[in-house]
Symmetry: C2
Subunit: 367 residues, 2 copies
């Protein structure tokens, strides 16, 4: 339960990096039954900037989305800047990717920015280490993430009343902690225990989907999950392919976000039960079928593969719009189906059948 409504889990969160799910309107998101979207704090902090979003009364008002929003802490993007950032106990100094201006984010500042954005769920600032990562660095980093998580928690606790008076959100912003520990089982366990000790509203598993093999990803989640409380949402960050999502659900995960549906759409790639389709391929030129038979998305109800292929080849925006609608629908529908199967007690059969039918393996190349 968030300020802007209930989120049924497992849930997929379309990513609205720069204040928009790429190429999609809020109306289209509602029509595809998106329950919650993700906003990227780093991008919004750099452009248009916190002052602008506060001026508009917070992110919901600014982007005209009245459902729940989760904002990340900005950490992942800042650590992706590689040479443009410097990390200390206090926080991270970085140069932004737009104009190279220097800025500094500490756990306290990350909380302040997210309070200003007014999302329903905020994330604690963490350090996300790359893959592969040395054990010693991963251990120190996970401990730093814990100390930062403690400071984030302290800020929101102390903000308490002030928050209620100043925040654009009428009610409480939830705060999730993030477990790190790279690919090391004992570090994952230590991190999970330390973060859970701080008592957050939900828990995320970070540092996955950073280039590691799928087995390592599964192991990282498996070594974390037993230490997360069963009555709080668990969020596997930055995942994944459709089969990976089902495997993660089987491993107790509740929330997901992933760029694949929107990013692959811009590349002409559509998701289907049998795997991904590259609609640029000549084989689709005369294909009168929809992307996927029986799919109820706007693209499949009205348009053929042949037409969408033409649009993609001609670099028409409508092409990537239609595939984006389909791909997001595919992910959201997969979660909806998973919820139904869980309720019926048939999720495991469903997962096995889906994974067996889904043929695309490691063939997804992100542009």
């Amino acid at each position: 339960m968030t300020t802007h409504g209930v989120v049924d889990t497992p849930a997929f969160m379309p990513i609205g990096t720069q204040g928009t799910v790429k190429a999609v309107t809020p109306r289209e998101l509602r029509e595809m039954n998106a329950q919650i979207i993700l906003g990227n704090t780093y991008h919004l902090f750099v452009r248009p900037g916190l002052d602008v979003i506060k001026h508009f009364g917070g992110l919901h008002n600014f982007i005209s989305w009245d459902g729940p929003i989760l904002t990340d802490s900005g950490g992942y993007q800042i650590f992706s800047l590689a040479n443009l950032r410097k990390i200390t106990e206090e926080g991270v100094e970085f140069q932004n990717h737009i104009d190279g201006a220097r800025a500094f984010i500490s756990p306290e500042i990350a909380m302040e920015i997210q309070a200003g954005l007014g999302g329903d769920i905020a994330m604690a600032l963490d350090e996300c280490v790359p893959y592969p990562c040395e054990y010693d660095y991963a251990a120190q980093s996970a401990e730093l993430t814990t100390r930062w998580a403690k400071r984030c928690k302290a800020v929101t606790a102390s903000l308490g009343d002030a928050h209620a008076a100043h925040s654009v959100a009428a009610t409480k912003q939830l705060l999730f902690g993030i477990v790190q520990g790279a690919t090391f089982g004992d570090l994952r366990k230590q991190s999970a225990q330390a973060i859970v000790d701080l008592d957050f509203d939900g828990y995320a598993i970070g540092g996955v989907s950073v280039g590691e093999p799928e087995e390592e990803m599964m192991r990282a989640v498996e070594s974390t999950e037993p230490f997360l409380p069963r009555d709080k949402p668990r969020y596997a960050m930055g995942l994944g392919t459709p089969p990976q999502l089902l495997e993660m659900i089987a491993r107790g995960m509740d929330m997901f976000d992933c760029v694949l549906p929107t990013r692959l759409a811009r590349n002409g790639t559509a998701f289907a039960a049998a795997g991904t389709l590259n609609l640029k391929n000549a084989e689709f030129a005369l294909d009168k079928n929809p992307i996927e038979e029986n799919c109820t998305c706007q693209a499949c109800r009205e348009f053929s593969r042949g037409y969408i292929r033409h649009l993609i080849k001609a670099e028409e925006i409508l092409g990537l719009r239609l595939i984006t609608l389909h791909n997001l629908h595919f992910y959201l529908n997969l979660m909806s189906r998973a919820r139904t199967e869980i309720e019926s007690g048939t999720f495991d059969q469903f997962r096995k059948a889906f994974v067996a039918e889904y043929k695309t393996r490691d063939a997804i190349t992100v542009e």
Copy 2:
């Protein structure tokens, strides 16, 4: 009255160059009360090609638009290819802009392609001369256009029964003739008389909006109009700014097409009653107003100038989508208003007031 419905005039036709009005779905076109759209024969002939579109049962089916479509003859685009084409009595030989492949279009072929596309209104093949143009060349060219028009007319007449059997359109495709004559009054008169003698379903004024000053454009239309029959639609090709459209309506024009609403949108420029707004400007960063007060388009109902500015600055597709929706709505709504004012007998006052309020003059630079 066309095969796919009635078109109330004056009417603006959004341009669907490559089988899509750029960035817009057919549903969105219906929601903004677009009555008829334009398809570019040249572009569709080059990609995806006539065979593909015929395979899908014609342009309406291919693009999922069930309203009327007007297809141009392809002439304008081919003559824009400049050095890549060679013109003879028989027709035009050209190299396409995609892969440089050679092709040939004659009046007969232009009719055959348009029959295959299955639009509701086809256009005769004409030569569109550039501005400025020598008198002698303009005279010869207008005569060639007349001879080509005669051949186009002959094709559709002879196709008659065969057409009814083979065409994807269930009923008759209308054919419009095009008047040329550049900026020369006597040539315009001669061309109009010769084309009207051939008895088309409607008449277009071509060779305007090709770089000439506005007064020349007005004069070209004024010297053509008296020779066009009053009971047939008159189409001023490739026009124009909002004030120009009203001036053209005052001069007896019924139909228009123009790239400005969609092209300027991609550049961040929005139409408003007071003139164009460049939404990239910093002045809009904190602006909570819609693009235009009281506008009923989707963009103005839900989004602020400040948000749209952010999207454009961040190069997000949603930004150009929203401005495109607004701009097309603006043009379509202007035509709807013009129809109402004409019915009330108050069009002249409306036109004068609109033109006086509209401040943008020669300031529109197309990217």
